[in-house]
Symmetry: C2
Subunit: 158 residues, 2 copies
């Protein structure tokens, strides 16, 4: 007993029922038990795992990362170094994305600072945009230049 349905599990863990099914479907979580009628049932241990996933998502981990973290969690003989590695790699990723966003923000602030922001049409922001993709002329000088080996489709880190 003490197993709950998916709705209650969702409420108890902050993971939507949709996502719980999705996690099961993609093999992130083991298939839940079922009632005779086909309803999914979640034990306290299942809820624990769901909260684990929720927390990891909140910390920005990828599903792939979470898969690894769950495996380590269940492996009672793991070396904490492995977990640490995963966490710090993720931090590095976060910092990279932060830097990218920060560069954008700085550039825009620079441009906005030189923009009248009044009723006249002259606008250095548009002028900059219209000047096309340039290797950041003034703001935030860096040397990476076009970042050839960046992971696919993450330009804006959006």
């Amino acid at each position: 007993m003490s197993a709950v349905t998916i709705g209650e599990a969702a409420r108890a863990t902050g993971v939507s029922a949709k996502m719980i099914r999705y996690y099961e479907e993609t093999g992130l979580l083991a298939p839940a038990g079922r009632t005779a009628a086909g309803y999914r049932l979640y034990t306290e241990a299942d809820l624990h795992a769901l909260r684990f996933v929720r927390r990891a998502r909140d910390l920005g981990f990828t599903m792939e990362d979470i898969r690894a973290l769950l495996a380590l969690w269940h492996d009672r003989a793991r070396a904490s170094a492995q977990v640490r590695r995963l966490a710090l790699d993720h931090v590095a990723d976060l910092r990279r994305r932060i830097d990218a966003l920060d560069g954008m923000a700085r550039t825009l602030e620079d441009l906005a600072a030189h923009c009248g922001g009044d009723a006249r049409p002259d606008c250095p922001i548009l002028d900059d945009l219209a000047s096309g993709p340039h290797g950041r002329p003034g703001a935030t000088p860096r040397q990476g230049e076009r970042d050839p080996g960046a992971s696919p489709s993450r330009r804006g880190t959006r």
Copy 2:
């Protein structure tokens, strides 16, 4: 004359042919001219617009934002204040995302700092994850707290 095909336009602007077609399809850019055989043709003005879009994407603007920026660009009577507003709103958005990412990074760094990172299995990082979604108990105290009015489905800002 002096109009080029989509491949050359892509090379000249740094926007992939795929994306050029996509921008046209979604109405971000006006349909390009065509040769008798149906090949798209790009004038210097078209290339200019493509570079504009590229630059705006590099600065992290949404397609929606870019739509507005293009309209302002083409409106020779625009008030620069409008452009400035758009830019600064976007900066605020960037800063919000940065804060979120930074919070995650800090938390993880905190946890990693207390993790042995050796061959033993004890690991505060996993312990934290296993403790489920909590309102950041120790690490990185801030007051934003769960950000109730945040735009939908951007938890991790990923």
